[in-house]
């Protein structure tokens, strides 16, 4: 398994203030547009929050050495996942693809060769995310990779609040007394990877490691998590990070 570099933990107590500040400082119009689109208030019940599930496939796990290969996103609400509004892009990572990562996400050299640089589609991606709460499974990939890639191309990065279905799973399975007890007994921790998490909610097994399929899988997982452990009127602030 690839090692994941320990990163500086990002916490933003006041996302609205941060976004407004970034909007003011922004040079690029797309980034300015993105930050000035207001987010739902932290007190908004989750059932009323427009969301978008985001997944990226990358050439590796370190945003300084590896790059984004594909981006998939599916807009949704707690009620409905809108597949018709799905978006998917393959982009040229401008960094050599390791054979191992090809086997992993099934995107080949020739597809990549014809793909545009992220910069070409970045405006579209940001427009699709703006105003919606981004939902990912394991934010330590999507957040730093997107930030780094945008910074490299536009001179300024993008950071924004996210709902991380993996950390919601971790809260349930890794941070409880029961979980600590299991650890103390030497039991392996409950898997909180996407597939294993979905299984716990009776969600079907999808062919993984395609950015759009994983985005869809993440959206379904969040619906299942809210239906099981939260309520439709749970405020956004209890869930995002």
């Amino acid at each position: 398994m690839f090692g994941i570099r320990p990163r500086q933990k990002i916490t933003q107590a006041d996302w609205a203030g941060y976004m407004a500040q970034r909007a003011q400082q922004a040079d690029s119009s797309a980034i300015q547009q993105f930050f000035s689109t207001p987010l739902p208030d932290p007190e908004t019940p989750i059932a009323e929050v427009p969301m978008v599930a985001l997944d990226m496939e990358t050439t590796g796990l370190d945003e300084r050495r590896h790059a984004i290969v594909s981006i998939g996103l599916v807009p949704f609400t707690l009620n409905r996942i809108k597949l018709a509004e799905r978006r998917y892009w393959v982009v040229n990572p401008s960094r050599p693809l390791a054979e191992a990562s090809i086997a992993y996400h099934h995107i080949t050299h020739s597809e990549i060769a014809q793909a545009p640089d992220l910069d070409v589609i970045l405006d579209e991606v940001l427009a699709a995310l703006a105003g919606r709460l981004v939902v990912v499974h394991f934010r330590s990939i999507e957040r730093p990779f997107l930030d780094a890639a945008v910074k490299a191309r536009r001179g300024e990065g993008v950071l924004f609040p996210m709902i991380d279905t993996m950390s919601l799973e971790a809260r349930l399975h890794r941070q409880t007394l029961w979980a600590r007890f299991r650890r103390w007994l030497g039991r392996p921790p409950v898997s909180i990877r996407l597939h294993a998490s979905r299984e716990r909610y009776g969600l079907p097994a999808y062919q993984g490691h395609h950015a759009l399929v994983d985005a869809l899988a993440t959206a379904e997982l969040l619906q299942a998590q809210i239906a099981t452990h939260y309520r439709p009127d749970t405020p956004l602030k209890d869930i995002w990070c």
Binding site: R80, L83, A84, Y201, G202, L203, P204, Q207, A227, T228
Partner: protein, 636 residues
């Protein structure tokens, strides 16, 4: 098509009615699907809510209820719901609830309407019960009409073909090598377009004739021709052929009409084989007709018993070839009657001529011409009124015993209810039988009729046919005027009810309980037969066969318009399902029975069976309402 949607379309493509859709339409659905997750116990559709999508179960399980809260159906992966509402006014009539954690794919109404418009199979599937049952029953009939066995089925190899310039000696050698009794003669060119074709190398040939074994005798040896004579010089220019998709029957007619024993079989203009009269005869030997004549050639019970495997073989073949339930039922009944008649002939030969005239009556499925391969014997003796028990009964008892034992030996097991001519009660003169029937109809109670309803399917098998006809007339005259009798019969007909349908590998009962298998006779065909019998009695029909009874019922105002057709379709489908499962049992060397196991039921069969059960269930409810217990019996 985006690969990312494969997940969705591949899943749908495995389940009806999506399995029959074109790839384009499947793509169109996958594109537009909306997804939602429902926790166990949460409501998916609320009564009277406005519905804008068809619901498809991707995983989990769902229960659908009637508006009063009664369970309507339990659905699993790959099932759909909501289509009734979409086809009507978009108001939810049947609310739905997740009974497991469930993932639903919502297919927007616009897509749903497009599917209904562009795909007839899909439209049939989602419309009400009748069209689907109708389609299933008609498809069975159609495939049967088409299939009355095509002649190409009898071909086992390509024809031996030679050029006109070949010597008759070489031709004879080739025939010997191939063990063929005829060969086809070809020449290059295409002056006769009827018989010219291109071979695989693109060369044009035409068939100019056929040479058979007998031609070698009559045209070559008898004429003293040299072995070096070219086949082209002796071949007959008279060429009678048949197309490969013609029926065996047509081929036989052609042979008889033209007085030839060999027929070249063509696919368009290309010869694909030669059939000989013996091929057709061999084929016929396996059929029911041959079997019947063979029954009458037997001189002992043992001989008859040895034919049992032939009966099963004929049954398997009929079902495989797509015969409908009426054809199978009447063929098996004919065979059963032939056994009975032959046994009676043998008994009379042994015991001497009967002292008084009699009629051997059959009851139950044989009387209705609806026998299956799993059947027992139901019969009785109607004797002349000159019958004097002390003088004559010993003879008839012995006769009945020979027949009954013989039938048992041939696979028609003894009747568990003792409805057999060996039972003194059912070996009586006509006047007694009349009294029996009058008494059953005049003083009915459900308990008494429970065991005698089988006699209301009655037909003559041997002897004085008019005895049975007298009884049939009596019933047709009295029954319609006997509301109490009809009510008692109706009450008994409700003793056996159909299940609600299937859920995964279980049979689901009306109360939601699960079973591992279902007796399709007890829970499907038999209650249907009971129900049809009551309506037939009420309208004075003298028909015994359920389909004919339904025809008679359809000509009256007894049931709502179209109802008797609907019942026919449902009955046909239930019968066919039962026959098909018995065929599978036989093919897999199991003892055939009336049970079907849900895991052996194909998806489309499941849905149609469920519809058929529903038709039966509704018809039973109507029965209760149509033939109520008259007032004085209710103790008002």
């Amino acid at each position: 098509m985006d690969v990312e949607l494969l997940e969705i379309r591949q899943h749908m493509g495995r389940f009806p009615p999506f399995d029959g859709l074109s790839d384009d339409l499947l793509d169109a659905i996958a594109e537009q699907v909306e997804v939602s997750y429902f926790k166990t116990g949460s409501s998916i559709l609320e009564l009277n809510e406005t519905l804008s999508d068809l619901c498809y179960i991707r995983s989990g399980a769902v229960e659908v209820y009637r508006s009063q809260g009664e369970l309507y159906n339990r659905l699993g992966e790959g099932d759909i719901f909501g289509h009734f509402s979409l086809l009507r006014n978009h108001k939810v009539r049947f609310p739905a609830q997740a009974i497991e954690d469930t993932l639903i794919y919502f297919i927007p109404n616009a897509v749903f309407q497009r599917l209904c418009e562009e795909d007839d199979h899909f439209a049939d599937f989602v419309e009400l019960e009748r069209p689907r049952l109708e389609t299933a029953a008609e498809q069975q009939k159609k495939s049967n009409d088409m299939m009355v066995t095509r002649i190409r089925k009898l071909l086992t190899r390509y024809p031996v073909m030679v050029e006109v310039s070949t010597s008759v000696q070489q031709a004879a050698q080739q025939m010997s090598e191939a063990q063929a009794s005829a060969l086809l003669v070809l020449k290059e060119g295409s002056d006769n377009p009827r018989f010219s074709f291109k071979d695989s190398e693109g060369q044009t040939w035409q068939m100019c004739g056929i040479i058979t074994d007998s031609d070698f005798r009559t045209r070559i040896v008898a004429e003293g021709l040299s072995p070096q004579t070219k086949v082209g010089e002796v071949v007959s220019s008279r060429l009678i052929t048949i197309q490969s998709d013609a029926s065996v029957y047509e081929a036989m007619l052609t042979m008889l009409r033209s007085n030839v024993h060999h027929l070249p079989v063509l696919y368009r203009q290309r010869p694909v084989g030669v059939v000989h009269l013996s091929d057709i005869i061999r084929y016929e030997t396996h059929s029911g007709l041959y079997l019947v004549s063979n029954i009458f050639n037997q001189s002992s019970t043992q001989g008859l018993a040895r034919l049992a495997p032939d009966v099963r073989a004929a049954f398997v073949r009929m079902v495989q070839e797509g015969a409908n339930s009426q054809m199978v039922g009447s063929a098996l009944s004919t065979i059963g009657r032939s056994f009975t008649r032959r046994l009676l002939e043998m008994a009379e030969a042994e015991l001497g001529p009967p002292p008084v005239p009699y009629c051997f009556m059959v009851n139950g499925s044989m009387a209705r011409n609806e026998q299956s391969i799993v059947t027992d014997q139901d019969n009785a003796l109607i004797l002349s009124d000159e019958f004097v028990p002390e003088q004559h009964d010993a003879y008839f008892h012995a006769l009945a015993k020979i027949v009954s034992d013989g039938l048992d030996a041939c696979g028609y097991t003894y009747c568990k209810g003792d409805v057999m001519a060996t039972n003194t009660q059912w070996r009586q003169p006509l006047s007694v039988w009349k009294r029996y029937f009058q008494d059953w109809m005049a003083n009915p109670t459900p308990e008494r009729l429970l065991h005698s309803s089988i006699f209301f399917d009655l037909d003559s098998c041997y002897g004085e046919d008019h005895y049975v006809e007298t009884l049939q007339d009596l019933i047709a005259e009295t029954a319609p005027k006997s509301p109490l009798f009809l009510a008692a019969m109706a009450r008994n007909a409700l003793n056996r009810t159909p299940p609600l349908g299937f859920f995964r590998t279980f049979v689901m009962e009306q109360d939601g309980k699960h079973n591992n298998s279902i007796n399709l006779k007890r829970r499907g065909t038999a209650p249907m037969v009971d129900l049809v019998r009551i309506h037939a009695l009420a309208c004075g029909s003298k028909a015994q066969n359920s389909f004919q009874r339904l025809n008679d019922i359809g000509n009256t105002q007894l049931l709502a318009t179209g109802m008797s057709d609907k019942l026919s379709y449902a009955f046909e489908f239930l019968c066919m399902s039962r026959l098909r499962h018995q065929m599978i049992d036989l093919q897999e060397d199991r003892l055939p029975d009336n049970n079907i196991e849900p895991e052996n039921v194909e998806d489309s069969e499941r849905h149609t069976l469920k519809d058929a059960f529903q038709v039966l269930s509704n018809a039973q409810k109507f029965l209760k309402f149509r033939y109520p217990m008259p007032a004085q019996r209710q103790g008002r």
